[in-house]
Structure formats: C-alpha cells, structure tokens
C-alpha cells in the first residue's frame, strides 16, 4: 500500500511539473502533428494505400513523439541535482521508476488521443469503428514502450549525446511491441475485429509488457543507485 502511494506520489510530481511547464507535452504534440503532415507527402493521402499502412504510420508518430517525452523524463531531474535527491529519498528505486513510467504513460496516451482525431481528419479515416479494442491495444502497447523508454532514459541520463543514444537504443528494443501494435491498429482502424490468426500479436504485446516490466523493476535499482 505504501509502495503504491510512493509510486503515485512520484507520478503526480512528474505530471504536475509537466502540466505547469508543458515543455515536453507541447513539443511532443506539435512534433506528432508535423510528422502526420509530412507523411501526406510520402504517400498519396487519398488512396486506399493509407488504410493499409495506417497502423504503421500512427505508431511511428507515437514512437517518435514518445522519445521526446522519454528523453526529458530523467534529464529534467539533472538540474540542481534533483536526481540525487530522489535517489536518496526513502522510496525504493522501483517505485521511483514505476512512478516515472506511469507519468510518461499518461503523457504519451494524451499525445495519442490528440493525434488520433487529427489523423482521422487529415486522412479521411473513420477510425472509431472498434473503439474499445483500439483503446486496449493503444494502452497495452503504450505501456510497453514507456517501460522500455523510461528504463533506458534512466540508463542514458548521464551519457554524452544522450538525445542521440536514447532513440538508437530504444527503437530496436521496442520492435516487438511496435510490430504487434502496428498490425493490430491497422486491423482495428479498418473496422475488422481481431481474427483468430492475429491473436498471437495480442499475446506478444502482453508478454512484452510483463517480461520487460519485471526486468526493469528488478534492474532499475542497480541503474539508479549502483
């Protein structure tokens, strides 16, 4: 119970400071919109083609925008040695990690729920045909990417060229979740349910979430404290 409260305190702290400054949220949302617009030049936005690749397009946008949020997650604690203060505070490293992951999860979800309608308008897509399943896939995959991203954000916080290293390391790691999410999102946006053959992708995302959450929770203490 105490652990949960500590986690929520960290998450609330991160969200509060983000809501007051809006520095990464604004950047991530505008970045997402820019990429959505850019994609209209890469493919013919009115064609059937866009239906086939809607999932891929959306998740690339989310992954790129997500990197902006994740980059700031631990980097923002570097000023005034806030990270040292957090590490020495009487909460376990894993609670600190989960709190930060939760905050990033909420922020990235906000970016997704803002980008979806914009995508629908720009590309003339009726994307709300399977809203519940779509939301479930979005949330599951977003948790997967934020866990990996937050962990690697902690890992790379003291690095030279941090902004470059984080995306280089996280994108290959995220591929299982991204791959599954792209496939499922395309199916769901086109209004089909999830056929029996494609359940493996749902299992893949759930497995990814469980494996990497437990790995990260076990190892994060070592990364933060040493």
């Amino acid at each position: 119970m105490r652990y949960l409260r500590q986690t929520l305190t960290i998450a609330a702290k991160d969200l509060r400071s983000e809501i007051r400054t809006k520095e990464s949220l604004n950047a991530a949302i505008s970045f997402a919109i820019v990429i959505l617009v850019l994609f209209s030049f890469a493919v013919d936005p009115s064609s059937e083609q866009i239906k086939e690749m809607s999932g891929g397009l959306l998740w690339l946008v989310f992954a790129f925008a997500g990197a902006l949020i994740l980059n700031r997650s631990f980097a923002r604690e570097q000023n005034n040695d806030c990270l040292d203060a957090l590490v020495s505070s009487p909460i376990p490293g894993s609670a600190l990690f989960l709190g930060k992951a939760l905050a990033n999860f909420v922020l990235l979800t906000v970016v997704e729920f803002v980008s979806m309608p914009i995508f629908g308008i720009l590309y003339n897509m009726d994307w709300m045909r399977q809203p519940l399943w779509l939301a479930a896939v979005l949330l599951l995959a977003t948790w997967g990417i934020t866990v990996i991203g937050t962990m690697f954000s902690a890992l790379t916080v003291n690095l030279r060229m941090r902004e470059l290293m984080l995306p280089t390391l996280i994108y290959p790691m995220m591929i299982p979740a991204l791959m599954a999410a792209m496939r499922l999102t395309t199916l769901l946006i086109n209004g089909e349910g999830i056929p029996a053959d494609d359940w493996i992708w749902v299992k893949l995302i759930v497995g990814f979430d469980i494996i990497f959450t437990s790995l990260a929770v076990t190892l994060v203490e070592i990364v933060l404290v040493g």
Binding site: L155, T156, L159, P172, I222
Partner: protein, 229 residues
C-alpha cells in the same frame, strides 16, 4: 606461457577448420535439391551457434558483474559481444548468399531474418553505449543492464522459426527435430565446424580481453599521471 597456450589453441582451431573445409569441399557430395550451395549451411549454422553462445555468455557475465561488481566480468562481456557481433555478421552474410542462390533475392523481411538483423543492431547499440560513458564503473554497470535486456532479442531470433511461419527454413538439426531432416554425415561436419568456430571465438575473446585489460591499465595510469601533475 598463457600466450603460447592461447596462440596454440588458435592454431588448432585454424587447422581444424582447414581439415573441415577439405571434408566439406572435396569429400561430401552435392545435396539432392540444392546442389553445391548447401555447403554454406555448414558455416552458416555454426556461425549462429557461436554468436548465440557468445551472447549467452556475455549475458551471464553481465548478471555476474551486477552481483559481484568484479571488472573481469565486464571485460569478458564486452569481448564476448564484440566477437559475437562479428559472427552475427558472418551469419547474416552467409545466409544472404544462400538466399540469393536458392530464393533469387538477397534479403526478405521474414521473421527470422528481421529478428537476426534487429539482434545485430541491438548489440551494435551496446557497443555504442560503451563508447558514450567515460567513467569505467558507470560504463560497466549500464552496459551490463543493457546486455541483459538485449538477450531477449536473441531468444526471439532463436524461437522465431517456431512462432511465425517463415520463409527461412525451419529447424533441421537432430537435437531439435529428433533426426531425419539432415544427412548424418553432413550434420556431423556441421557440428565439427561449430566446435572449430567456438574454439576460434574463445581465442578471440581471450585476446580481446587482454586488450581491454591493457586499455584499462593505460586509462588508470593516465588518471594517475593527471593527479600527480
């Protein structure tokens, strides 16, 4: 003395490879369906066996580093990943050549190939991460954690032929299929090649570890010199 043993082992591995090459090129007959090109399989599979073993040992050494905090484990895991990466590239290249002959294309995005490439990229990222950290302890700690995460991609690559329907051929070795997919004479050479490559990789890891040790010593001397001035 240690040096002599090391180079002796390397020599044995080299000679063993030459002897295997003779067997493969001059003794073994062509395969019924594929003709001469099947021979590349006898290097392709051993290369992957070697690189997966190297990654496994690097992962195990990383876990040991986090438990014991002994720099030797870190040295071993970086040496092992570097050698493993070299064998990954050999595996990708030999597979690609085989695909060009049999499928008519160099590359296809099926699950096995894609995951093999992702594994390659992930471990290259591991080596990049090491270059970006200056402090040796922080470098050892961060790269050990990354190495453990990276091992997930090795497992997925290994299991991908079971999980997805791939264009890449399924398991052929008798330890996975119970036999019958491959001629015993060919399989025996394949394992002998694997032993030779593993020995060679072992020697390379040992040599690379000594370089790493020397480098660490030079770094500490440099720090000492700075402190003295």
């Amino acid at each position: 003395m240690r040096e002599k043993i090391l180079y002796g082992a390397g020599l044995i591995a080299g000679l063993y490879l030459v002897r295997n090459l003779y067997q493969i090129l001059l003794v073994l007959p062509d395969e019924v369906d594929q003709g001469a090109i099947y021979r590349i399989l006898l290097f392709h599979v051993p290369a992957w066996i070697t690189c997966f073993s190297a990654y496994f040992l690097a992962g195990a050494a990383s876990v040991m580093y986090l438990i014991k905090k002994d720099m030797r484990y870190d040295t071993f895991s970086v040496a092992s990943v570097e050698v493993g990466l070299a064998f990954t590239l050999i595996g990708l290249a030999t597979g690609s050549i085989w695909a060009r002959i049999i499928w008519g294309i160099w590359w296809t995005w099926d699950a096995r190939l894609t995951w093999a490439l992702i594994t390659c990229i992930i471990y290259a990222g591991y080596l990049m991460l090491r270059h970006a950290v200056d402090d040796p302890t922080a470098r050892a700690k961060n790269s050990a954690v990354l190495c453990i995460f990276s091992y997930a991609s090795v497992i997925i690559t290994y299991k991908s032929i079971d999980w997805w329907r791939t264009q890449h051929p399924g398991a052929v070795l008798s330890i996975r299929t119970g036999g019958g997919r491959m001629d015993p004479a060919m399989e025996s050479i394949l394992f002998q090649n694997a032993i030779a490559l593993l020995l060679l990789a072992g020697v390379m890891v040992a040599v690379r570890m000594r370089q790493e040790d020397t480098q660490r010593e030079v770094e500490s001397l440099r720090r000492y010199a700075h402190a003295a001035v």
